[in-house]
Symmetry: C2
Subunit: 142 residues, 2 copies
Amino acid sequence: MTNTIKHDCTQELRDADLKITPARLGVLSALENSNKPQDISDITTYLKKNSVKADQVTVFRIINAFTEKGLARPIQFNEGKLRYEQASASDHHHFICENCGDIEDISDCHIDDLEKNINNKKGLLIKRHSLEFFGLCKLCQL
Amino acid sequence: MTNTIKHDCTQELRDADLKITPARLGVLSALENSNKPQDISDITTYLKKNSVKADQVTVFRIINAFTEKGLARPIQFNEGKLRYEQASASDHHHFICENCGDIEDISDCHIDDLEKNINNKKGLLIKRHSLEFFGLCKLCQL
DNA sequence: TGACAAATGCAAATTAATTGCATATACTAA
DNA sequence: TTAGTATATGCAATTAATTTGCATTTGTCA
């Protein structure tokens, strides 16, 4: 087998009560080894490159299980499809260039304070948020 | 005609350089008369209820035109489809209960300062943002 | 190791959104 | 007010993302 996946993620799967399968390890690895949120076909491509045999439908099912178990998190960039990133990734947001589609991470957004405030005021229990910025990246402004 | 739509929105359409048609007035009214972002089928249903004859495809086209002209604004709750709200609504965000699907408006989020900061630091030109919170509403926490 | 539940593959169905084209309708200028 | 024209709409068909059903395979645990 030419499985070139480096990091061992079996424990993450065990903790999530998911059976350890090559496809699942591959999907976890795909999310881990990319700095941008991945769509299903990104992941499927990654698996192929790494000699992990898995149908696109399987990837959908795995990603859904991951989302349910809190291993992955869905993100939508107005593309008509969902992307996913590791849920363990530190709190950050995204900037999407409306011209070239480039995605940049934005950190240092202290939304947490805001959240606490809302929790208190309205009695809501906020578990996560999604903050995306849209505009033009440096190059596309020229 | 049993068109029960109250408020007259013709001026909004005229200002946007869009011809005034029953379907467009109906869609505007659907957005106006709802406090939650509507998806296409919500809008189509509203039109039917109000005896406005319009195909679902027409609603898609109208909503796209509205978005382009700045009358409507797309919102994503990571459901794999888009929702829309009146663009004239003041800057606010949403809280979506993951249990019951309830949507509440959140205002008083001063993201603007954040944006300015990011603009300066990274040279990005931010035109709009999307901030949604997910969690449990008051009732669903019990 | 063997049994059983869960995961996967493949085909088919569903859903969101778009496109093409023929027809109907709103608006403009006379 | 009406005719002419550009635009909007309806309907059918298409595309792309995602889901579902079912038969088969594969992890896991006793």
